[in-house]
Amino acid sequence: MAVQPPRTLRALLTEIGPVDQVGIEERVAKYTTRSIKKASKVQALKLAVSMVDLTTLEGKDTPGKVASLCLKALHPHDDPTIPSTAAVCVYPRLVKHAKKLLRNSPVKIASVATAFPSGQAPLETRLAEVRAAVEDGADEIDMVISRGAFLAGELALVQDEISAVREACGPATLKVILETSELETYDNIRAASFLAMRVLRPGDFIKTSTGKTSSNATLGNNQVMLDAIRDFYLETGTPIAMKPAGGIRTAKQAIQFLIAVKETLGDAWLNNARYRFGASALLNDLLRQLAKEKTGAYQAPYSFTEASGSY
């Protein structure tokens, strides 16, 4: 017999309505059948480039690696018509190194904070990490929620923590990582989305995953969150932004995600203030497909810079 979700969670689900799992999966399966070609494909690819949060989150990251990542974010390719990416995403210790290169540039600096990726540190420590990152120059903070508390039904605790982090952010944009793979059901993802959105400011993000677990952003959980954003927007008028992260490696996938945005939230969300991709390998594939569209010949992946190691 299935375990009943905690009472608080059931109450929230009654209020916001559950998710039709079969319906969601059927719907997202159709996104993969759209035919996007030629000029519209080029437009979608360039839009996707401008939405990338170019990410490196590894224990072996160094200031040098972050520097090359920043340069790549500023000028992804020789082609001047290709925009720079939306942001780079690094660990808090490396924010000041990124700041040196990205000061006065359109590329923002995002930093994961709050004991990423587990979030298992005392709240005071997490808030101190957020404040330090913002002080070093981070424009955006990616926080993780306490999944354990959420699943145990301590929803008020989770929400209070998000509020506390939001306060600590000051002017910086906040992105709340739900870590969908650990929430286990679409219902929980929807509930967590609402929980976060109710304490966020317009323009703050909800984000699927850390990229550190086995399963990351999928069209399915992306759709559940987009639906939640739409319902919340219609109800309150507050536009919340969205960032799927992890597992989006190919241009084809990125276009499918954009189709989901277009068909769920409309053109207002098709810009990098409202939608982002948290990715490392994706950028190179986008550039590769843009080069293919330009030259007509399929390109080899090694013709595109790999700054170092992992991306």
């Binding site: 030259t295 399929y298 013709s303």
Partner: protein, 288 residues
């Protein structure tokens, strides 16, 4: 009670799996008497693109295997072909080869696999060298595989011709994508089934079927293919060279205007392997 015939759906062997063309298209394949035999996938440039991706993924693993192990696997191909020799002969006879000719082509194909199985750990000592230099250095030239090789197999000798082009490419650690004979595709379908059980890692050999005109331009221009090995006529050769020039791709041709004897000794050997090798020379100081 009569039993309904269970006919096989021919599928292409790509990435260790059996695929239909992404286009969903097929072409009818008739036997020598003109009767319908089966539908063969009509692969497109997108199938080629997908095959290149999977071949590129398989490359590092295949080239890192020891030369001896690659030899064992190539020999295993011969073993598997031997055990299905009857079926393969029947496949060749489908398009008109006499039973004797078909059996001879299968035998020669098995021998060819054994031939290249022997070469995998020997060509290096023949083609590589230790070079005399006037400074206190050891100077070596070692042979390394190029990467992903595109192959356009000849129309005739649908098994022997195909294998004679694929085997020397993969013997050194390259991976290959081959377009099989358009008029006699069925032996390549069967060959895929044989390769699938030959311990050959998925993606090392990828066999497509379809029209040359659909595949050739993309094979010529695809930057990820490091070389094209083609049995081609004058017009096709020109087109391949034009496309290959953009990314400085190596081209190796078999002129299809002149009949090629695939059975002869000249159709095999280490110099076929050398077509798809890159020479790397290193200087190593001799101890002070």
């Amino acid at each position: 009670m009569t039993r309904l015939p269970i006919t096989k759906t021919p599928k292409c062997y790509v990435g260790g799996a059996f695929i239909r063309s992404e286009s969903g298209r097929v072409y009818a394949h008739n036997d020598s008497a003109g009767a319908f035999a089966c539908n063969i996938p009509l692969c497109t440039r997108k199938d080629l693109r997908n095959a290149v991706e999977t071949a590129a993924k398989a490359g590092p693993g295949w080239s890192k295997r020891s030369a001896y192990n690659r030899g064992q696997i190539l020999y295993r191909i011969a073993e598997m072909l031997e055990s299905r020799a009857g079926e393969m002969s029947a496949a060749l006879a489908l398009t008109g080869a006499s039973p004797t000719t078909a059996a001879r082509e299968v035998r020669a194909s098995i021998d060819r696999a054994v031939h290249y199985a022997g070469w995998t750990d020997k060509y290096e000592s023949l083609l590589g060298s230790v070079n005399p230099v006037s400074t206190p250095h050891f100077n070596f030239t070692v042979m390394e595989p190029m990467g992903v090789i595109g192959i356009l197999a000849p129309e005739e000798a649908p098994l022997l011709g195909l294998l004679s082009m694929v085997l020397p490419a993969i013997a050194s650690g390259n991976t290959a994508i081959a377009l099989a004979s358009h008029s006699q595709p069925y032996p390549s379908i069967l060959l895929g089934e044989i390769l699938a059980v030959s311990d050959l890692p998925g993606g090392v050999v990828n066999l497509l079927t379809g029209k040359r005109a659909d595949i050739l331009p993309t094979m010529a221009t695809h930057a990820h293919l490091r070389a094209v090995y083609a049995a081609a006529d004058k017009t096709e050769r020109t087109e391949i060279q034009r496309g290959a020039a953009e990314h400085v791709k190596r081209t190796v041709f078999i002129h299809s205007e002149t009949p090629c004897d695939w059975f002869e000794e000249k159709a095999q050997g280490p110099y076929q392997i050398r077509h798809f090798l890159e020479a790397k020379t290193t200087w190593h100081p001799i101890g002070a």
